[in-house]
C-alpha cells in the first residue's frame, strides 16, 4: 500500500503540479487585484463626501453578501451577455479579486482607524499636505495594523482559489478532480491535493509572520 501510494504519487504529481501553477496564478492575480480594489474602497470610505462613502459601503455590503461561487458564475456566464467575454482564468482572477477586495477593504479600514489622530495633528502642525500625511503616516501605520488580518485573508484566498474550478479553470482542485474520476485513486489524489495546498499555505503564513516581525521592530 505505501509503495503503491508512492508509485502513483510519482505518476500523478507532474499533472497536479501543472494545477499548482494555475492555482498560484489565480491566487497571486486575485490577491493583487483585491489589494488595489480594497484600498480604493477603504479610501473612498474615508472620503469627506458622503455619496462617495455610501458607494463604498454599498459595494462592500453587496459583494460580501453574495457567495463567491455565484460571483464567479456571474463574471464567467453572465457578463458575456453584456458583450464582455473573459477566458476562464481571467474570469477567475477578476471574480475572486473583487470578492476578496471587500475583506481587504475591511482590513485596511481597521488599519486606518488604528492610527492615532494625535499623530495626524503632529503631521499637520509640521505643515505636511493631506497627500503626504496619507503616504508617509497613515499608510505605513495602517499597513502595520492590517498585516495580521491580511495574512489570514491571503490564506483564505489561496484556498478559495479552488472555487475557480467551477468555471473550468484548470487549477489544482480541478486537475485533481479530473485525475480522480479517470483513475478512481481518490485517496492518493486528494491526499496529494491537500498536501500541495499545505505546501503553499504554510510558506505564506511564515512569510507574513516574518513581515510582521520586521515591521513590529519599528
Amino acid at each position: 500500500m505505501p509503495e503503491d501510494f508512492l508509485v502513483r504519487a510519482a505518476e500523478f504529481l507532474p499533472i497536479l503540479l501543472r494545477g499548482v501553477v494555475v492555482t498560484v496564478q489565480v491566487t497571486v492575480g486575485a490577491l493583487l487585484l483585491s489589494i488595489v480594489l480594497g484600498l480604493v474602497w477603504a479610501l473612498m470610505g474615508r472620503s469627506r463626501l458622503k455619496p462617495v462613502r455610501i458607494v463604498s459601503r454599498t459595494v462592500v455590503n453587496v459583494v460580501r453578501g453574495v457567495p463567491i461561487i455565484v460571483q464567479l458564475f456571474y463574471v464567467y456566464f453572465v457578463l458575456p451577455e453584456f458583450g464582455l467575454s473573459l477566458d476562464a482564468l481571467a474570469a477567475g482572477i477578476i471574480g475572486l479579486g473583487v470578492a476578496y477586495s471587500v475583506y481587504q477593504a475591511e482590513n485596511f479600514r481597521a488599519g486606518f482607524d488604528s492610527v492615532d489622530p494625535a499623530l495626524v495633528e503632529a503631521a499637520k502642525s509640521l505643515g505636511m499636505s493631506e497627500r503626504k500625511i496619507l503616504q508617509r503616516l497613515m499608510m505605513p501605520l495602517a499597513i502595520r495594523t492590517a498585516l495580521p488580518p491580511f495574512g489570514n485573508t491571503s490564506i483564505m484566498l489561496l484556498k478559495d482559489s479552488s472555487i475557480a474550478s467551477t468555471i473550468t479553470v484548470a487549477e489544482l482542485t480541478r486537475a485533481g478532480q479530473l485525475l480522480a474520476v479517470s483513475t478512481f485513486q481518490n485517496m492518493t489524489v486528494y491526499t496529494l491535493i491537500a498536501v500541495l495546498y499545505l505546501a503553499m499555505s504554510l510558506p505564506l503564513t511564515l512569510a507574513v509572520h516574518q513581515l510582521e516581525r520586521r515591521m513590529a521592530r519599528r
Partner: protein, 241 residues
Amino acid sequence: MIEVSHVSKAFGANRVLRDVTFEVARGEVVCLIGPSGSGKSTVLRCINGLESHDGGAIRVDGLEVGPATLPQVRAKLAMVFQRFNLFPHRTVLENVIEGPVHAQRRPKAEAAAEARELLEKVGVAEKADAFPSSLSGGQQQRVGIARALAMKPDAILFDEPTSALDPERVGDVLRIMRDLAAEGMTMVIVTHEMGFAREVADRVLFMDGGEIVEAGPARELLSAPREPRTRTFLDRVLRPL
C-alpha cells in the same frame, strides 16, 4: 507676531472660547494657565488651525488664519505636544527631518545635518537612530522640541509640554525651553508649571470658563493676582494641601 482678537468657539451648546483677545509680540514668551477645560489648549490649537474658531480673527505675522492660509500659517509655527506625538515608525532623526524634507522640501542631507545639531542641542544626539518607543518620556519630548525647531519657525506653541513627564524629567525639558526663550524664540506655552512661568514668561494669561480672566506681567500676576478667580486657582495650585 500672533494676534488673537475676539475669538469665540462652541462645541454645540458648550461655549469653549468667549471673546478671547491677546497679542504675542516677536520674541515674547507668554504662558497660558488655568484649570483644565478652561480653553487654553483650544486657543493654542486654533492659532495653528488644528481647530477652527467660530468668531473673531487670528493673525499670524499679519496673515489671517483660515482654511486657505493654513499652509503659510503652519510654515511659521511649530507645535510641541503633551503626549509628544512622535511618529512611531520613524527613527528619531527621521522624525526631526520629516517636516523640513516633506513639508518644506529642503534637501535631505542638509536637513539631516541640521537635525543632528538640534539633537545635540537638546541632549539626545546618541539616540538619533533609535525609534521613539525606546526613549524615555523626557527624551521623547526633547525630540519633539528638536522636531519643532527643525522647522525654523517664527514661533513655537507648547501644549502642556511637561504634563506627561516623570517629575524628575520635567526640569530637563523646562531648561531647554528656558534656553530657547533666552535666545529670543517667540513662545506660547500652556502649562501648569508656575515656577517656570514666573521665571521665564514675559506675560501670563489666566483663563477660566473659556475666557481670559486676567493677563499681566508674569511675576505680578502670579504673586499679586487681582481677580478672585485667579487667586483661588493659584491658591489651589501652589498650596494643594
